[in-house]
Structures are given as structure tokens and as C-alpha cells.
């Protein structure tokens, strides 16, 4: 009975994460995007916590905390600051319209399902579903990076991608701590480096638009 319920809740949380990814994909204002990302991290934290509960693996609570504090609060705030400082709180110019992006997202989720459900059942269904969702989140994050022109939103896409990873990692029962550490570590480094870069970029150009970066080529045609 409990297994079943546990399954449903975990399933629900993971599904929510995918849903939130879709919201990110849909959202095209920077502030709103930040908030949605915070929500994303929140949901992640919840699902990780739940995993910790049902796997009664205490160290996962730590991961949940990291996700909650770090991703749901600190990073959004910091990014908010940067946006204000850079004065780029304007609309994000997306490459493809929201509609097509959503459709693409649907396709990706379907693909993720097809690929993952191939997995034979003796890898337990919970892990299987989780993986399927995680994969969709990863793909959606990537899609977001691809469809946004603005550096900040690309960073957000990247981080939601990493959320997908965390989801997968926690879904993997009994995975050694090394993974969480590395994830946290990677997010930390990622953030610092991005910060440095955005700072430098601020120094150099008046935009963090990646295309502006691309104008400075080693080798012009």
C-alpha cells in the first residue's frame, strides 16, 4: 500500500517538475522566468525530500536542502540582482514562437517516454518513471537553452537541465553521495563562473546578449 502511494506521489512530483519546465518554456519575461525557475527548484526539493523519505536515505534530505536554499532562493535572488544591475529586464526575444516551442517540448517528452519505457521492468518502476521524467526535464532544459537568445535565460535553462539530473540521481536508489556533492559542486562552480563572466561581459559590452559576444570573432569571414 505504502509503496503504491509513495509511487503515486513521487510520480506526481516528477510530473510537476516537467510541467514547470513547460511553464518556463512558455514564459518570455525575465523576472517571471526567474520566479518560475525558483518554483522549479522548489518542486525539485520536494521530490528529492520525498525520495529521501521513501528510500529512508537521510543524506538525500541534505540534497533537498541544497536544492531548496541554493537553487530556489539564492540563485534567483542573485540573478535578479544581476538583471537589475545590467538593466536588461526587458522581454526575452525567443528564437521560435512559444507555440512551436511547446510542440517541440511535447515531442521531446514523448521521445523520452518511448526511450525510457523500453527499459525492462526489473529495474523498479519507480526509478523507471523517474528517469523518464528526468530525461524530459533535461531535454526541455536543453530546448530552452536553444530557443532563447538571452544569456541569463540560457543559464536558467542550463540550471533546470541540471535539476533534471538531480531528479534522476535521487531517483536512482542508493546512489553514493559522490553524485550529490558533484552536482552541488558543479552548480556552485557554474554559478561562480557565470557570475564572473557576466561581470566581465558587463565590463566589456553593454549587453549579455550572446549574439553581441558572437560579433567578436577570432576569425571574421
Amino acid at each position: 500500500m505504502r509503496g503504491n502511494l509513495a509511487f503515486d506521489i513521487a510520480h506526481m512530483l516528477a510530473g510537476t517538475l516537467v510541467l514547470v519546465s513547460f511553464m518556463q518554456l512558455y514564459q518570455d519575461r525575465l523576472y517571471a522566468l526567474l520566479n518560475i525557475y525558483a518554483l522549479h527548484a522548489l518542486v525539485l526539493a520536494a521530490s528529492v525530500a520525498w525520495q529521501a523519505f521513501i528510500q529512508d536515505a537521510p543524506h538525500l534530505y541534505l540534497t533537498a536542502m541544497i536544492a531548496l536554499v541554493f537553487k530556489a532562493i539564492i540563485i534567483p535572488v542573485a540573478l535578479h540582482r544581476i538583471i537589475v544591475k545590467l538593466g536588461i529586464h526587458r522581454e526575452i526575444e525567443t528564437v521560435v514562437g512559444v507555440g512551436p516551442a511547446m510542440l517541440l517540448g511535447m515531442g521531446l517528452v514523448a521521445l523520452a517516454m518511448v526511450v525510457m519505457l523500453r527499459v525492462t521492468a526489473e529495474a523498479d518502476p519507480l526509478a523507471r518513471e523517474d528517469l523518464a521524467f528526468a530525461l524530459s526535464v533535461v531535454l526541455l532544459g536543453l530546448l530552452m537553452m536553444v530557443t532563447r537568445r538571452n544569456a541569463v535565460s540560457q543559464v536558467i535553462g542550463f540550471m533546470s537541465l541540471e535539476n533534471g539530473l538531480v531528479l534522476a540521481a535521487t531517483g536512482a536508489k542508493g546512489m553514493p553521495l559522490v553524485v550529490e556533492i558533484s552536482v552541488a559542486f558543479s552548480v556552485l562552480i557554474a554559478f561562480i563562473v557565470i557570475g564572473i563572466f557576466l561581470f566581465r561581459i558587463r565590463e566589456r559590452f553593454d549587453t549579455v546578449d550572446v549574439q553581441a559576444l558572437d560579433r567578436f570573432r577570432g576569425e571574421r569571414r
Partner: protein, 478 residues
Amino acid sequence: MIDALTGVLLIPAVAAALLAALPGYRLTARLNVLAAFLSFATAVSLFIVEPQSGPYLLVDDLNKVFIVLTTFVGFTTAMFSASYIGHEIEIGRLTPTFVRFYHAMYQTLMFALSLALVANNIGLMWVAIEIATLTTVLMVGIYRTHEALEAAWKYFILGSVGIALALFGTILVYMAARPVIGEGLYAMVWTVLVTKAAKFDPALLNVAFVFLLLGYGTKVGLAPLHAWLPDAHAEGPTPISAVLSGLLLNVALYALLRFKILLALNPAAIAPGPLMVTMGLISCVFAAFMLYRRRDIKRMFAYSSIEHMGIIVFAFGMGGPLANFAGLLHMTMHSLTKSAIFYAVGHISQVKGTQKIADMSGLTVTNPVLGWGLVLGVIAIAGLPPLGIFMSEFLVVSSTFAREPWLVIILVFGILVGLGGLFLRLNTIAFGEPRGPTAPAQASYVPMFAHLAIVFTAGVYLPPALVAGFENVARLLG
């Protein structure tokens, strides 16, 4: 008691901390060389006494050679960068603080690379490669010119995406291993995985391999994941270009190989061969064509690295004892040759004060040693005898043509086109009427010629120990 294995990791780690603390360019440079040499010495000692491999670290035929290779190239590059960075400070492209940072990062990179090689735990390996990536990102951006920043940014974005994909793959491997091996650490320990790989869930392994191929393939620089590589090589300091081409690509490829072995051991899983062959061919031919329009000398050789990675991946993808042997040999030879070329290129661009091919000409007249060194390097990298790469290309082509004629013809076409591109530029760089500044280079030619000498020797004679190790690995790779 510290055995050689931990020594290889400890020395660079300590050195990194030390170099971060110590001021003064001369001292740090010397220290850097010293540390690199010490780790090289310890690595060599691995051949004499083979330490016990535990759940985190291991030594086997596959990584032994690469550890020695990595530490050796690290050592020679340190020597090279000592003279190179000195010149950079003189002309004021780098400030002492950045040099300190640079040296610390250099040792960190060495640490990460060695760790990636000796890691017995796929998670640990991933972490190591990630550290390596991040450090190189910082070093590529060190000049803080527009181009450098842009290159670093590009490298960073693409690299971290690659890292993420690789991590996902790693997790999937764990998921596949868990039902068989059971939860916990040992489901990520390489030596254990190998023994049980046959029983893993094939579908999971397949997905895992796709992610690992793309993730680590980004580091290897396979087209179409290569985009970071040319700019990172071109805009970073030349020692870093040497290390990138010579070591980082190898290490990433090494990680890929480990997982290929896993798949090879599982009969039900998708054959990794076709995927690798396809990507290899694409990279080889694509890079070969890209050589023709290059105006920046470092970018050109970066593309040639992509081409060779393509050849190597093709070889492993084809499989078979000979092709695998050739692939391993090619990895070794390429990293030695390419780093040697970058040593030459570094000094050349310092003499000429530019990296633009159009502005350098007649080097063999003005700086004979540098010029002929470059010519020799290009001859080696183009796969002409009697240097090492010819042997590996000979083995790859001749051993696979009977099996897959059309694919091999594509490969040969790529090789030929690449050769054409390389020599087209070499002719203008090394020969003809001299152009540009012709000051003699204050350079240490030792590293370059040491590498070329080794490559030459290997082209004529391979030591049996090396051969035995490679043959074991080749058999393992299937």
C-alpha cells in the same frame, strides 16, 4: 604509506596550493616544472611496482600508458610554458597575479587529468573531467581579450552541457548496474562493473551510451559537438592549447573507451561501433575541409586535432585487435606530436608577433630550428613515415578496408584532403620569401624535439612492454 598512485594525485594537488600561495614568476615557473617532473617520475614508477587498486583508484594496462603520457606531456609543457610565459610577461600580455593563478590552475588541471585516468569509480572520473574542463575554461579566458572571453564563454556553455549529458549517462549506468550488483558504491566501481556487465539491462545501457557519447564526445571534440575546440585552442595561451589537444581530448576519449568496453561486454546492447564510426568519419572529413580556409595557425592545428580524433574514434568504432591497437597508438602519437607542434607554434607566433598565417613566411630561412621543427611536426601529423602516426594509420586502413571498403575510402579521402590543407598552409609558413619580424626566438627547443624524437622512434620501433599492454587493451575493447 603513500604509493605511487596517490603520489601522482598528491603532488599536483599540493603544488597547486603552493603555487597559488607563492608570488614571483621565476620561482613559481621552476616549481611548476619541478612538480610536473616529480609526478612524471612517480608515474613512471607505476611500471616498476604496480600498486594495489582499490574501490576508488586503479591501475591497469589501459590507463598505465596514459598516466605516463599525461604526466610526461604535462612535464614538457611546463618546461615550454616557463619560457613562453616569461615572454608573455615581458611583452606585458600577462600580469604576475594572473601568472600565479595560471600556475595554480595548471597544476589543478594536471591533478584533474591524472584523477580522471586513475579513477576506478565512474562518478569520480566524471568529477575529475569536470574539474579539468572548468580549469581549462578559466585558463582559456586568461588573456581577457574579446576573442578570449568569447572563446571561454563558448567553451564553458558547450562544455557544461556536455558535462551534464555525461553525468546523466553515468547515472543511467548506475541504474543499469544496481539491480545486478546491488545498491551502493560498488555499482559504480569500474572493476566490478566489468565483471557483471553481461547481465546489465541493455536498454538502459544503450541510452546511457548515447548520453556518454555525446557528453564525453563534446570533450573529445567530435563534430558536430566540436565548436568550442578551435576557438579555445586559438585564443588561450599556447601551453594550454598544447595541453588541450595533447591531454584533455585523450582523457575524454579514454573515458569513452571505458564505457565502450562495458557495452562490448553486453551482448544484448546496441553495438557502439556504428555510432562511433559515423561520428568519426564526420569529424575527420569535416575537419579536413575546415583546414583550407584557416588564417589563424593555432585554429588550423586545432581542426587537425578534430580530424585525428575522428580517425581514432573511427578505429575504435571498427574494432578488431589491429584497429584497436592502432587507435591506442594513434592517441599516444597524436598527443605527443600535436603538443610538439603547439610548442613550435607558440614560439613562432611570439617571434612573428601574430597568429595570422598570412603574416608569417619563410620560417626555415629566418628561424631554421623552429621552421624545420614545425615542418617535421606537420609531416608527422599528416601521417607520413617514418613517424608514429603513419604506423597507426597504416594499421587502421589496411586492417579495416577488407571489411568496410566504402567507409575506409571515405576515411582515406578525409586523410588526403587534410594532408592537402595542412601542407597548403605549411608551404606559406615555412618556405618562400621571409616576411614579418625575423628576430631569433629565445626558446627552449628541448620539449619539442624530445616529443618528435619519441614519435620518430615509435614510428620505427615500439618497445615490447608498450605493445603487450596495448594488445591486452585492444583485446578488451573487442
